[in-house]
Symmetry: C5
Subunit: 95 residues, 5 copies
């Protein structure tokens, strides 16, 4: 999984019909402190995450293993909202 | 998913027979403003997208989850045309 | 899919038995003009492509969606020979 | 598989329900001596690994081939704890 | 597939039980002459390859399409030992 921060949203009306109702978030990569670095992915939200939250994303076929993404043309999903990132015994990020 | 802009088309007559009738678009990566950056992918169009449009692409096995790409040797699909990209509460791209 | 140019061939006699009879081509990445850039992949030919041709390759599980690669340990396949690459209304590559 | 060293842990309470009970470790890439380089992944532990250990991780659909990750939205798993890394006949890392 | 050279081995006793008996080789990327470049992967051997040999590796779900890797948490497999790499009509590597 990748650590990321939700910074925005992509809206689309003309899309594959299986995608109706899904929310597409823009997720920037973050470091252990939860600060954005370079790179981003657009991921479907499966956990009720919102802009500003640090999350975990799963990619590829694993992105289709949630109830709302099953069998859909989706290759990245937000499957967890991060509470803490602990590195070498220290809490580097706390929600 | 990746954000991209359709900049062109690849035509092929000698190809796997399952690919007959599919349209292959050249999709350049874009930033949050919809401006092309480096890198591109060739993706099958599943939503009637055309040159100049900003789109979302899904890669890998997820690219085969649309009606027209199912069970075909295709690893990237355009599955949505982007209306808006909103970052930090601001519309950075509007169709 | 990736755009590439076939520049050579890899020969192997000691290999997984499912791979018998498959042809492994060395495919360099190309730009929109069909000129090699950096990076290459070794891909199985499924369309009768030869050295010097510009082709499309599909990767991952999608590489196993052709008749000759099905259920085989192959992660890249040449599934189309490119006739033209048209960018912004201009033919940048013509076979 | 990738060689990595567990340097920390990610905790999440709001997540896909299939993920309950799984442990998410932060795994930094390492060189042949087991020393961290750049890049990291968050991976589910399937072998009882702990912080400080050098491990192997499998990514993509292969990450779902363990008993505890099967059919779950998980794209990286720790599937082995490394005892030794031998390069050119020399033990470069010993647990 | 990627071209690589086996430079070493990773030994693990504490691992997923499906992995018992598998051999994990360290495979460095190589150029067309078979000389190591940057980057490496740890791959399961399915063809009896040994240190010093130039090989092809398949990644992702394709790595599970050999008899010994089927349904196992393995994302890279050595599926062929390379005899020759011919580029532009010249043998750049001969075993």
């Amino acid at each position: 999984m990748q650590l990321g921060k939700i910074v925005g949203t992509v809206v689309s009306t003309q899309k594959d019909e299986k995608l109706t109702g899904l929310k597409f978030h823009v997720v920037k990569n973050v470091d252990f402190d939860g600060n954005p670095t370079s790179g981003f992915v657009v991921a479907v939200d499966s956990v009720g995450a919102g802009v500003g939250e640090v999350v975990l994303t799963a990619a590829g076929s694993s992105a289709r293993q949630t109830d709302i993404t099953k069998d859909k043309p989706v290759d990245a999903v937000i499957m967890a909202i991060v509470d803490t990132i602990e590195i070498d015994g220290e809490n580097r990020y706390v929600k």
